[in-house]
């Protein structure tokens, strides 16, 4: 469970990051810049043969956070609330991928939701609220 080199899926680029994102990744960004992909490895699992809920929620946060940053043209924002529903299983080796959509943006708050799935089959739905830094 140490540094293994993994090749990017064709056309995908690695999501740059420090700390948690780099440590649990790589997370890949799709060519369109909107979808994010995690190839589920041994470190991401729970003891029952499924992806750990924490990793699935973390990916949902990364997907929604990316959409929020795009909507804010890069302005800083932080998650203040997130709700995730676990609707389908994710197994070792699965490619868990999802994209987010902005529900509403105000000066101070962004409402966002996302769906993660494996081969188009839904696995997790989530919604979140991000606070715009310094937003008045």
């Amino acid at each position: 469970m140490t540094a293994e080199r993994v090749a990017a899926p064709p056309g995908y680029t690695v999501l740059e990051g420090a700390g948690f994102n780099a440590y649990v990744g790589p997370v890949w960004r799709a060519p369109d810049g909107k979808s994010f992909l995690l190839e589920v490895r041994d470190i991401h699992m729970n003891g029952g043969g499924a992806i750990h809920g924490g990793m699935a929620m973390a990916l949902a946060g990364i997907v929604m956070g990316g959409a929020v940053r795009d909507a804010l043209d890069g302005a800083a924002a932080a998650a203040v609330s997130m709700t995730a529903d676990f609707i389908g299983p994710v197994k070792l080796g699965d490619r868990l991928e999802g994209r987010a959509s902005i529900t509403r943006r105000t000066r101070t708050i962004v409402f966002v939701s996302c769906e993660l799935g494996v081969n188009g089959k839904p696995a997790l739905t989530a919604s979140g609220i991000w606070k715009v830094a310094g937003g008045q």
Binding site: M1, F20, M45, G47, G48, A50, A58
Partner: protein
């Protein structure tokens, strides 16, 4: 937590030799992803079990604030421990989790939670917890779990 009743193994994580803070002991870890982010610590106090983790550079974002993914994973772990200790380690999974992030923590902070089983039935558990740093709530989480009782 696990969804296969007999398939769990206590994981050893010798690579991360992080000492338990005074008054705490290492919690057993059963899930590879929790071992990846752990160790997590536990203590019994006043008839309840508390859990904690020490924030390090694996748990933060590029600004040095706690990453929501690290907090949601720790919350999920705490709730799993609480349900396991109430159900003779019955298999259980998270159905839904709502997490509020009130304030960030920083590297070196000890994040502490006392999970609260609000209601537990034969096949469902409703659980919540506040996550504290130096006595201030920095995160608040509630969740719904599904249980498959052993007996």
């Amino acid at each position: 937590m696990t969804s296969e009743s007999e398939a769990y193994t206590v994981l050893q994580v010798p690579a991360r030799n992080i000492a338990a803070p005074k008054g705490w002991r290492r919690a057993d870890q059963y899930d590879p992803f929790e071992a990846w982010l752990g160790p997590y610590f536990e203590r019994a106090e006043g008839g309840a079990l508390d859990y904690a983790f020490l924030v390090d550079n694996r748990h933060v974002d590029e600004t040095g604030s706690t990453h929501d993914g690290a907090l949601m994973t720790f919350a999920d772990a705490c709730f799993g421990y609480a349900i396991w200790s109430a159900t003779n380690r019955s298999p259980c999974v998270t159905v839904s989790q709502q997490s509020s992030f009130l304030a960030p923590a920083r590297i070196g902070d000890l994040v502490v939670c006392r999970p609260q089983l609000v209601r537990i039935t034969r096949d469902m558990a409703f659980v919540r917890g506040d996550f504290m740093v130096r006595g201030d709530t920095m995160c608040s989480v509630s969740a719904v779990w599904r249980i498959w009782r052993r007996n």
